[in-house]
């Protein structure tokens, strides 16, 4: 079919119009499916378009209409299957509604996120779905709203921004799971997260991630409800590479932690490696709980207890909402469906008060 149009300048409406012997305007109307066009003209135009292998220039189209039929997504870490799954939720909904989706990864870097939002806005996406890297930085997101483009957030909240957020509230599930740990005797529960913070942990300190803030709040509530006191030395933020995580793990164990909660999959990997390396056993010597339900958590011995979020649904809901907004409707936000749950699998056991408390000789500060 393609022999007569080798490397020529792209075929334009004008070319099609000429071939169909109609005006440029009529050809454009037929091609774009928007004005009033007689059947006869439409047929001739379509035939000509087919014959010339015409492809509309979406850029020109977008320039005129301001609409690109495209959703922009910004996430911090596409390597994390968590976001991969959310992305599929978004894509599926978008595709069904006739939207394309383009994604930019920011490596959890705020500057990169600012850039990403700018790029997407520049490309005139019709709406933006963002998993914000920091709850504090909202200026660039505010600009999206100013530009009149719909924006929804997922996975995390941002302060002072009046937009829909699709993320389960983690307070309840954090509280429940902490209560369960307390119920089987744990009093010294460590929490390890990559989220950065200024200085050591204090209750209520500002945290970049709203999810982490909620998780900690839940822990506090559980302890308080049990009339106990959460030991803040065991809350360790700013964990970085696997070495620092390993070091932190050793420290909290030496510090008498009988249970460790890992804030994400990466943390979990290093924590478990360290526990194994120290010759300790889960859950006999130490109990373990992690956020996010990855497939591999079923493979270890014992299989790992996790806190699972409906990630696919979160993505799908976010996409549905932004599409509604694009269409000028207001989504009835029903985030009550998006609930995180504790999945008990076998890494939580009774606290072994005696043993390690004593042997924790190694590196207590």
């Amino acid at each position: 079919m393609s022999e007569s149009t080798p490397r020529r300048r792209d075929v334009t409406v004008a070319d099609v119009a000429r071939e169909a012997r109609v005006s440029k305007a009529q050809a454009a109307r037929a091609l774009g499916g928007y004005g009033a066009v007689s059947d006869d003209v439409r047929e001739r135009v379509m035939a000509a378009a087919e014959h010339l292998n015409y492809r509309p220039n979406e850029l020109a189209r977008t320039m005129n209409t301001g609409k690109s039929n495209t959703l922009g997504v910004v996430v911090g870490d596409i390597e994390n299957p968590h976001f991969g799954l959310a992305m599929r939720g978004i894509s599926d909904v978008a595709k069904a509604a006739g939207f394309d989706v383009i994604l930019i990864n920011t490596s959890e870097d705020v500057a990169a996120e600012v850039d990403a939002v700018r790029v997407l806005l520049d490309k005139r996406v019709d709406g933006l779905i963002v998993a914000p890297a920091s709850r504090g930085d909202s200026e660039h997101l505010g600009r999206v709203l100013e530009a009149g483009r719909p924006l929804v957030l997922f996975d995390r909240k941002v302060d002072g921004l009046n937009v829909d957020v699709f993320a389960p509230d983690m307070t309840d599930v954090a509280r429940e799971s902490t209560e369960q740990l307390i119920a089987v005797g744990h009093r010294r529960i460590a929490f390890i997260s990559t989220v950065d913070a200024e200085g050591p942990y204090r209750e209520g300190m500002p945290l970049a991630s709203s999810q982490v803030a909620e998780r900690l709040l839940g822990m506090h509530l559980a302890f308080r409800h049990a009339g106990l006191c959460l030991n803040r030395d065991l809350i360790r933020l700013g964990a970085g590479d696997s070495e620092s995580i390993a070091a932190i793990t050793e420290e909290v164990l030496a510090d008498g932690a009988t249970a460790i909660v890992a804030s994400d999959g990466l943390i979990a990997l290093s924590v478990i490696e360290t526990i194994q390396r120290l010759g300790l056993s889960i859950p006999d010597d130490v109990s373990f709980l992690m956020y996010d339900d990855f497939a591999w958590t079923k493979l270890t011995s014992p299989p790992l207890s996790v806190i699972a979020q409906p990630v696919y649904d979160i993505g799908a809901a976010a996409a549905r909402a932004v599409i509604l907004r694009i269409r000028g409707q207001v989504p009835r936000t029903s985030p009550e469906e998006l609930k995180a749950v504790l999945v008990e699998r076998g890494s939580i056991g009774a606290a072994t008060a005696g043993d390690r408390q004593a042997m924790g000789a190694s590196s207590a500060r």
Copy 2:
């Protein structure tokens, strides 16, 4: 409810020019940094731009220049950390070279891939990096070339397309690892892959994934070199969901397989679950080897032996190449750096000839 934002018309070069009391052309030159502009004019223009909060319309710019300063990436499964990591390689290189990156996920669906390529082309990306879903379908990729846009492939090859491909040759490493399995006594080695094929496996049959074809070729070579015959009943393609993978695993075990090779992480998960469920132990009862080196493979007991690819480097190399092509240079393809290696960790043991051999098998000398 977001107070509907003022539909304020974007500020344009014309606005800036007026404010700076220069011609539109001069303002554009100063803003775009391209013509000859006096310091005085430049300053006034910049000040005006700042004052009016001018933001260039990249779409209009792209329409004129044909350049968007953007790389398009198409992958089949962003949920797979394999691609996530490659994506980071691409992003890092692109960012360093001043390119934006936008990604479209296809869920390994050829139709979606065709769409994705069209969308990206429509958005006038300067170059395309694709991990093709099928080695057979190349028409849409051919169109990229026809459109005069640089294209490079990674992870997999495509037939009849003259472009750079960044993927390690898997033949050697497949052969080596098979030889190792043979060396410790394995004769009945199963290979399980999601890749679809028509009917049961025959040597040399057309396969959608060039990687899988190479892996099988390597296995064949190893067997042949050892004077043995690979049992094609144990090569199982078209594995789908976890149930079908579990069923296949049971079948090959019943058929006397003493070692199982999983073609990707998803397969691996189900295979190991099944092995555990059957009460068999790795590597005592059955040896295990998988493609791709995920972090969790170190966590199981025993840790898993894997075939690792330099995924980040592959992505980075692909990005470098496409950027060179965009600049009109010809990348010196040196894919020799991109080598996959066998990482022995503990899931490969001597074949236990006795037990299960009894129930299955015949054939082969």
